[in-house]
Amino acid sequence: MTTSLADVAASGATLRAFLHGLPGVDRVGADQRAATLGTRSIKTSAKATAIDLAISMVDLTTLEGADTAGKVRAMCTKAVRPGGGAPKVAAVCVYPDLVAVAVEALRGSGVRVASVATAFPSGRTSLEVKVTDTALAVAAGADEIDMVIDRGAFLSGDYLKVYEEIVAVKAACGQAHLKVILETGELSTYDNVRRASWLAMLAGADFIKTSTGKVSPAATLPVTLVMLEAVRDFRDATGRQVGVKPAGGIRTTKDAIKHLVLVNETAGDDWLTPEWFRLGASSLLNDLLMQRQKLTTGRYAGPDYFTLD
């Protein structure tokens, strides 16, 4: 397999043949496996560790039309010091025009700045605009770029177009990490999720990400499972490790811990660090902090005592 991987993208036909040659996903099996792993009981000290790990994996995100520089600064402050002695989050994720604000607010903190680009969330624009969008975000100081794939092209079978777009955006990223958003809610089957994962990884993605958060369903456990299997198999085949970022719809500590269990059981604990696994979320952080406080104080926490975001 390793020998053929290099020239898989030689033409549309070879790429198509490779992606359709991937083994199909057993949908019932994947659902069942994810559901079973979701029932794992994580308590007391293991839970405390899991919560802190989850906090350190959060990509604290604000992607609203109503975002302001002030809101981004407030979020950055929270990202560095979530409160109660909790560790800092992995990154903040903003629109490209607010990258400069986030970079300024996070200088020296060790929290990375991620920016969505390529006409997020629909991706419906020309390649020139996508590449420029990416280059501007990188120039403004973004450490990580979250791009969206062209789902229209993917679903109509034009895999080479999707591939070449990712390659072009990756080139525009320079040193910045590239996360490729598959928008699994629009891909309709797990087979497509597996193909899109491989496609993105072959094209040079550093991370594969489930969703924009603008489409429902967003990150579900079985979809993350399929993607984790893909990065595991990809590393076995090529030796290159790719990260996974489920995003959208992860709101509770329970959801976050289920994802961590999934990572550990599917890809292995090599992925169980903020460098290789991220949780894209906004309201999740408050729930993690509330659960963290419950463990330290022994009383259920209330949202009145946490910053709103």
């Binding site: 022994g298 009383r299 209330g302």
Partner: protein, 281 residues
């Protein structure tokens, strides 16, 4: 051929749904004479937590509803209760006549509180005279989520503690009487079919000692009614826990539920908002 009767499963009432306890536990309920009546769910602290979440979710809608609307819904609860008079009398226990009297009193109590919904503001609020060119108005507002430990009186006592809490716009989590929880769950069926939005009243059955301290300590609960707590140590512990976020607390009391209730139970869980409005003179 004789027919096998279908027996009711007594579950919890959380967020407008009837779930079993998260813990999967139940406990046998017996009559005063010791005869087995039914199994009731034995709620855990996680059920209490879920109930608080449901109550918090329901609060904006319920407190934002007009007082008139809340009164109508409470009156509707009374109507539905009236329709189930016989069933409640049967589940009530004790003599048939006292049971019926108790059910009637509960219906009347609901109607009485329903009438208060749009009057409590006038009685408990005020237009204050102040030394300046301002209209100065004080209006009562609901405090938020109230945890209620219901007294032993299975229906009249329960209605008498729940109605005053919700009529002003609070939502509540109620721990039903441990020895006689069946009427509480049947009351939940009444509430569920009375246009009362889900989550306004959440009913848990189980042990006071297991649930009350968690509710008392919960930072997202704003008020605590300890009426039904019989153990003085437990009450003291709950009051101490409640101090952490300054909950409004109603201490345990022995009340005669047939007496005129007064407005104290309503005002205990109200806050006062005062507005200064310039007069423009």
């Amino acid at each position: 051929m004789s027919r096998l009767s279908v027996r009711k499963t007594y579950k919890l009432y959380i967020g407008g749904a009837f779930p079993r306890s998260e813990s999967g536990r139940s406990y046998p309920v017996t009559s005063a004479k010791g005869d087995f009546l039914a199994n009731a769910s034995l709620a855990s602290r996680k059920d209490a937590r879920d109930a608080v979440v449901a109550a918090r979710k329901a609060f904006p809608g319920w407190s934002g509803a007009t007082a008139y609307n809340r009164g109508q819904i409470l009156y509707r609860v009374a109507e539905m209760l009236e329709g189930r008079r016989a069933q409640f009398a049967e589940e009530h226990g004790g003599g048939k006549r006292t049971a019926l009297e108790s059910v009637d009193a509960a219906v009347d109590r609901l109607v009485w509180y329903a009438g208060w919904s749009d009057k409590i503001t006038s009685v408990h609020g005020a237009a204050n005279a102040v030394a300046g060119p301002y209209f100065n108005l004080s209006a009562p507002e609901p405090t938020g989520v109230v945890a209620v430990v219901a007294p032993a009186d299975p229906l009249l006592g329960l209605v008498s503690v729940v109605a005053p809490v919700i009529v002003t716009g609070n939502t509540c989590v109620v721990v039903a009487s441990e020895p006689s929880p069946l009427a509480a769950i049947t009351l939940a069926e009444v509430l569920a079919t009375s246009d009362l939005p889900g989550g306004v009243v959440n009913l848990l059955t189980g042990k006071q000692a297991e649930l009350a301290p968690w509710l008392a300590a919960h930072m997202d609960v704003n008020g605590l009614d300890l009426t039904g707590v019989t153990d003085a140590d437990l009450a003291l512990r709950c009051e101490q826990e409640a101090a952490e976020n300054l909950k409004r607390v109603l201490r345990p009391v022995q009340e005669d539920w047939t007496a005129d209730p007064g407005i104290g139970r309503m005002t205990r869980f109200l806050e006062t908002k005062t507005v200064w409005h310039p007069k423009g003179v």
